[in-house]
């Protein structure tokens, strides 16, 4: 998994894999690959959830002299 992957992308892919398992009846090799990928994605998403920090950037105003 690349570092650039966002939570949104990972979660969407996890949902897609879950749906795949419910619908497709593909072979086990494919299933195993998807399963491993799914677990990795779940781990990644969980790790992301552990991030609690909200960063605040003050927008540098171009419009008033106030402050």
């Amino acid at each position: 998994m690349t570092k650039k992957q966002t939570f949104a992308e990972a979660f969407a892919e996890l949902e897609a894999i879950t749906t795949w398992f419910e619908q497709a009846d593909a072979d086990l090799d494919e299933g195993l690959k998807k399963f491993e990928r799914g677990l990795a994605l779940a781990t990644f998403c969980k790790d992301k959830l552990a991030e609690v920090e909200v960063k605040v950037d003050l927008l540098k105003k171009k419009f008033t002299e106030e402050e």
Binding site: L14, T43, L58, K62
Partner: protein, 386 residues
């Protein structure tokens, strides 16, 4: 002998005298009567005094009308008096006219609302979805306001790993409208990497006068034409503003705006766990049907077992212990007969050859007295978890 001057010269004297009135220092309050727009350009009305029998003719260019005005409205007017030479008529050249008092403000509000509605600014079909997991949030509100604290607190309680880009603006008073407009312009002009995924315009509740910026036609249009989806949350549940109606998502309060913008991490954790479990269980069923497919599938079962066991033991250890090597490292073993993992001693007979996999290697063993001496408990224990 008295000097003789022309009419024009005399009116010039009159106007010079009128200019000595310190008009810029006063605002005249009265009620609008006979409001009329000629040729879409010139606006005339009379400003009436409620108590005294007094009347002031007013005159202005239509571009000076920033808020809709109509007869019967109570207004504050600023301007300077002069006599128009061509007609010899005295009037007030109006530089600004704004409704005042709840009644007039309510009327002006209704007028703009009807106008914007007719133009389609409130159309539900144009409302855009906001991203489910925004990474950058543009927040337009006053740093001092309670709304800021409420929004940030709820945001932080629910979600993390996001950046809030805060445009600190006045949310009431004269600076509010230009600052809010500038903030929208600035966010929308940002490059793709900087630009927020969603904008939040919010403030606490208040009177119509307090909320004027959120009922301003220009601000409503800025919300409408923003390329970035906009969530608007004003005051208490009962408050409404024109920006609310234009917004892609209307939140009832600043706190509610935070709830609408980010998901709840507890819910997401449950959702992820649920997804992983569903995936695991459907995969398990499939493997059950292809039991003879060998070692790889078995490894997957092992992973699943350790996954479930760890999840039940502790949410934090959930997926960390998915790898069978970790399980073996804690002293467990996997017992196989041929390629099949042994789960039930009843499937074994005296003398069966077993292979016991430990963390650092394997040992071969035989079944004595139809009983397995090593680690069957664990396998059984896991099976029961299903």
């Amino acid at each position: 002998m008295q000097p003789v001057i022309s009419v024009a010269d005399y009116l010039e004297l009159v106007n010079a005298a009128l200019r000595t009135i310190p008009s810029e220092n006063v605002v005249i309050e009265g009620e609008v009567a006979g409001f009329k727009v000629s040729h879409d350009t010139w606006v005339t009305f009379d400003l009436k005094d409620e108590k005294a029998d007094a009347l002031l003719p007013c005159f202005l260019h239509v571009s000076k009308l920033t808020v809709p005005i109509e007869s019967g409205m109570r207004v504050h007017v600023a301007g300077y008096a002069r006599v128009k030479e061509q007609w010899g008529k005295f009037s007030l050249n109006v530089t600004s006219v704004v409704p005042t008092g709840e009644g007039a403000l309510a009327k002006a509000y209704q007028l703009v609302k009807v106008k914007l509605d007719a133009e389609g600014l409130f159309n539900v079909l144009r409302k855009r979805a906001i991203p489910r997991f925004p990474e950058r949030i543009g927040l337009i509100t006053s740093k001092e306001a309670a709304a800021y604290g409420d929004f940030m607190r709820i945001l932080q309680n629910r979600w993390g790993g996001v950046t809030v880009v805060h445009a600190s603006v006045h949310v009431q008073g004269q600076l509010a409208v230009p600052e809010i407009l500038a903030a929208f312009a600035q966010f929308n002009a940002m490059s793709a990497g900087e630009r927020p995924d969603v904008l939040v315009l919010t403030r606490g509740g208040g009177s119509l006068e307090d909320l004027h910026a959120f009922n301003d036609e220009q601000v409503a249009r800025a919300v409408f034409s923003s390329h970035i989806p906009v969530v608007v949350g004003v005051g208490h549940e009962r408050d409404e503003s024109l920006c609310d109606f234009v917004a892609d998502v209307r939140a009832s309060t600043p706190s509610n705006a935070a709830e609408r913008v980010v998901p709840d991490r507890g819910e997401m954790l449950r959702s992820i766990t649920f997804s992983a479990e569903r995936m695991a269980s459907t995969f398990m069923h499939r493997i059950d049907r292809h039991r003879d497919r060998g070692e790889r599938a078995m490894r997957a079962i092992d992973r699943f077992f350790s996954d479930i066991a760890a999840k039940l033991a502790s949410a934090e250890r959930f997926l960390a212990s998915v790898d069978p090597a970790n399980v073996l490292g804690r002293g467990y073993a996997i017992v196989r007969k041929g390629d099949v993992v042994v789960k039930d001693p009843a499937t074994l007979a005296h003398g069966d050859a077993l292979r016991v996999q430990l963390a650092r290697g394997t040992i071969d063993a035989d079944v004595r007295n139809g009983r397995v001496k090593s680690e069957k408990r664990k396998v059984e224990g896991q099976t029961s978890l299903l």
